[in-house]
Amino acid sequence: MQTKAFQKIYTKITKLSKATCSLNASGIGNEELAFVDGRSAQVIKIDKDEVTLQIFKGTEGIRTDAEVIFTGNPPILKVSDQLAGRFFNSYGEPIDGGPEIEGEEREIGGPSVNPVRRKQPSELIKTGIAGIDLNNTLVTGQKIPFFADPDQPYNQVMANVALRADSDKIILGGMGLSNDDYLYYKNLFDNAGALEKIVCFVNTTEDPPIERLLVPDMALTAAEYFAVNKNEKVLVLLTDMTLYADALAIVSNKMDQIPSKDSMPGSLYSDLAKIYEKAVQFPSGGSITIIAVTTLSGGDITHAIPDNTGYITEGQLFLRKDSDINKVIVDPFRSLSRLKQLVIGKKTRLDHPQVMNAAVRLYADAANAKTKRDNGFDLTDYDERTIKFSLDYSNELLAIDINIDVDKMLDTAWELFAKYFTKAEVAIKKDIMDKYWRGK
């Protein structure tokens, strides 16, 4: 650490806990960045002349006479076009062996966009995956997480989505990423020849967990630079937000705050909202779209982390293994894109909303029929047909290995309708039925 003239230096720590230290100091600003024995730390509490710092790497081995340097600033990121194609740690320091970034210093976690200056999102994001494009269509400026158990291939699906989507920049915020997954992303981006439009901020499982707390703000500060200053379409990938929330819980616990549900801090909703609400469509054409991962434990979405996330994001994409076809699908029941209304039937074919709903309804009937069958009851002819339909529907549309365009998805659905059902069973508005029905 190079000290600068205006920086304040202290050498007398009065209290130490696992993640925090306190000392007497004056003229210190709330949320200011400091270094304790060379480790990054941030001011989280000031009581008269006692300042409490959260030390990201933890306090192990810190002595009471360690050097504490206050920088006079909250954490910052230097932004410029040089960010493109680079890999950084949680502090925004290069980890790819490349040179330091030159650019404008920006405070991370900056102010919110004035709601009246936002534009309504209206640009469709194509992923080729029917479980997304057909049933849960994504739009630029949206924020949406994958909900998945840890054994689901969410990082792969997210990478596919990122590479297929038409965006100017992809910014990856990796939190508690395993080294393997980190290398997976790196190779994938490399091989796709997409490196020039990638920026990565990575905290791996080998790094201290509290450092993760900086990653989303770093990624989003970079995103705002490209979206606002360069009018670019930016896609931000945040994986895994559950590990981010766990780090929040550690800190609030160390601060002796009263936990609310599932040992999470009472402010979890606001903390997560501050990140996700950075997703925005600017009138000038730039946009920030956030696709995140929230890992679940045993599919439980009532746990405080997915629950609060669901209340904040504009839908969720629920991945699960469909044992009938032995493939991972985007579950049509638990998944939702709340912005799809803005594009389906408008930017896509007119029949899109009705076809989507009818297919999901028939799929639900199949689920009921399966329950009936499992309980040992006889199935009606209709039940049998719904089950057959559901297998085809899963295989040809819900599975995540699909890569086709939206018209093809709609045509496939109409084919399946005609194959298994009558017009009355499909029950779609008459004018649309007249135009697209493929059966008798």
Binding site: S112, P115, V116
Partner: protein
């Protein structure tokens, strides 16, 4: 002026050492660089005041100067509030500069230079009390009454009132004098502290009228009273916001005050975009002309989120005092409760259930009690109908905010995860939900007179079919399709018909999304006729396809213009289908 110095900072809770008397809920300003950051005193202990700052506290330091304002958090009330986009502290968002919100930038909610044509109704020598009308100006299309300020107590006389004419809202309109000889100059603007209920009315009767919303599951099954209260709890993604937006588009109200409290910015943008284009079916005017939006989205400061619902309620009370029917919507009241929880935890208060403050039930019921229908001093009626959403953690209704709200609100629109998963929108649970107003004799009388003679009986009858359908469905599930008489299947499918055609409603279809009472009555009569019809089926397997045909035709009717050719064509088709299997 009382001053102080910052001595402690934890997140947005600031401890201030003060040099004089301060009051609970007093507003103060923390001076930092060139910014003045607004904060509210929430606790006092000795010479220490604890304040929640309505902004990010980043960079604040010990020793900063604090100025106390001498008043609580107040809003400005006057002509020009309609169609505004305000934040939780009543700043006009459109007046703020730049794309990003700047800390410490406060903008006036009213346009102080704007002129209105004032027409007086009071004259010199009149005796007046707070809330009495002195005259009016025209705002959009409403007669915006200029009133004796709410805060004037006792009896006053009009000493002077200006001639009809064009005035700025800051110009003198009248001078009032009381028995002590105190004089008060009246302009078109008055101030009121948001956490105090406006009581400038004669009495608050029980609500006795129904407010049409155009949403069938509300109007037909669980009607909302004008001046009534209700709430919509539900897990995320089950349709709380869509339902509130649907209500705000069609409700029979003069004004809509919409508090977007700690929810998504894009949802507010949707209103910004749609309301200037959509037409109010009753007045033929743009929806935005009757709407004021108080917008404190989830990424805006938490303390201001708490203020936002009070700001909205105060504006609603102001317009109610003009004899208007105001509908106030808040999405979501849970975010407001969470804001209270965050502060309470920071102050290390003894927590109640789920770490919410102990007095949460009292705070919620106080708030709901500010709604209601009132007789003003001049005998005219004004009302605030209030519907809030609740976002229960984990979707579990056994949590403090839902339970406290249930005690305070008279209508309960419970959204069910299961219905939403099967896309049965609006996902209002047909069995658990209720409207207490349906039990009020005066409401029943109103419905009989205004909707139809047997209306209430018919509604109860339909509800009974739903219950019977559910029982039949349970039996079928236990005993199997062929383990029960065919009648069970018929009963179940009759209830499904009510569900699909009356309860479910497509909020995104131009026609289906709005159903006036007349049309609701027509459809209810039609469907009850089907329910009362005896059908003949050789086997249970024939039941579902037959009823699906019936449901399909009825849904096509829902999508067609009421009583136009298409509508009648489908109805005739329906009659043919019914003939196929009906028996005398």
């Amino acid at each position: 002026m009382v001053k102080g110095k910052v001595v402690g900072i934890i997140s947005n809770l600031i401890t201030i050492e003060v040099d004089g008397p301060v009051s609970q809920n007093e507003i103060c300003f923390i001076e930092h660089n060139k910014e003045k950051l607004m904060a509210e005193v929430i606790k006092i202990s000795g010479n220490l005041a604890f304040a929640q700052v309505f902004e990010s506290s980043r960079g604040l330091k010990i020793g900063l100067e604090v100025e106390f304002s001498g008043h609580m958090l107040e809003v400005d009330l006057g002509p020009g509030l309609l169609s505004k986009n305000l934040d939780g502290l009543q700043n006009d968002l459109d007046k703020k500069e730049g794309v990003f919100l700047k800390r410490g930038e406060y903008t006036h909610a009213l346009d102080l230079d704007k002129k209105f044509d004032f027409i007086s109704s009071a004259k010199k020598g009149d005796e007046v009390h707070s809330g009495d009308w002195l005259g009016y100006v025209t705002e959009n299309w409403i007669e915006h009454k200029i009133m004796v300020p709410f805060k004037l107590e006792g009896r006053w006389k009009v000493k002077e009132i200006v001639k009809n004419g064009n005035y700025k809202i800051t110009d003198k309109i009248a001078v009032l004098v009381n028995d002590n000889g105190d004089e008060e100059t009246i302009t078109m603007i008055q101030k009121w502290p948001i956490k105090v209920a406006v009581k400038a009315y004669k009495e608050k009767p029980r609500p006795f009228k129904i407010m049409e919303t155009g949403v069938r599951i509300i109007d037909t099954f669980n009607p909302m009273a004008e001046g009534g209260t209700g709430f919509i709890p539900g897990p995320f993604g089950c349709g709380k916001t869509v339902l509130q937006h649907a209500i705000s588009k069609n409700a029979e109200a003069d004004l809509i005050i919409f508090a977007a409290c700690g929810e998504r910015a894009n949802e507010v943008v949707e209103i910004f975009k749609e309301f200037p284009e959509l037409i109010d079916p009753r007045t033929g005017r743009k929806l935005i002309e009757r709407t004021t939006i108080i917008c404190n989205t989830s990424n805006m400061p938490v303390a201001a989120r708490e203020a936002s619902v009070y700001t909205a309620m105060t504006i609603a009370e102001y317009y109610r005092a003009m004899g208007l029917r105001v509908l106030m919507l808040a999405d979501s009241t849970s975010r407001w409760a969470q804001a209270l929880r965050e502060m309470s935890n920071r102050m290390e208060e003894l927590p109640g259930p789920d770490a919410f403050p102990m007095d949460l039930p009292a705070i919620i019921s106080n708030f709901y009690s500010r709604a209601g229908m009132v007789y003003l001093n001049n005998g005219k009626i004004g009302s605030i109908t209030f519907i809030g959403t609740v976002s229960p953690a984990g979707g579990n209704l056994k949590e403090p905010v839902t339970e406290s709200t249930k005690k305070a609100a008279r209508c309960f629109y419970a959204l069910s995860q299961q219905r939403s998963d099967s896309k049965r929108y609006p996902a209002v649970d047909p069995i658990d939900s209720y409207s207490k107003y349906l039990e009020y004799p005066e409401v029943q009388e109103y419905l009989t007179k205004n909707v139809g003679d047997n209306w209430v009986d018919n509604v109860l009858n339909a509800k009974n079919w739903l219950l019977r359908g559910k029982e039949a469905f349970d039996q079928i599930n236990i005993l199997g399709d062929d383990g029960v008489p065919v009648d069970y299947h018929i009963t179940y499918w009759k209830s499904e018909t009510i569900d699909f055609v009356l309860m479910q409603q497509d909020a995104f279809d131009k026609i289906d999304s709005i159903t006036p009472f007349k049309r609701q009555k027509y459809m209810l009569d039609l469907i009850l006729m089907i329910c009362e019809t005896n059908f003949n089926f050789e086997s249970f397997e024939k039941v579902p396809p037959y009823f699906k045909r019936i449901i399909n035709i009825l849904k096509q009717m829902n999508y067609s213009e009421f009583k136009q050719d298409n509508f009648y064509n489908f109805e005739n088709e329906l009659k043919e289908v019914i003939k196929e299997r009906s028996v005398q």
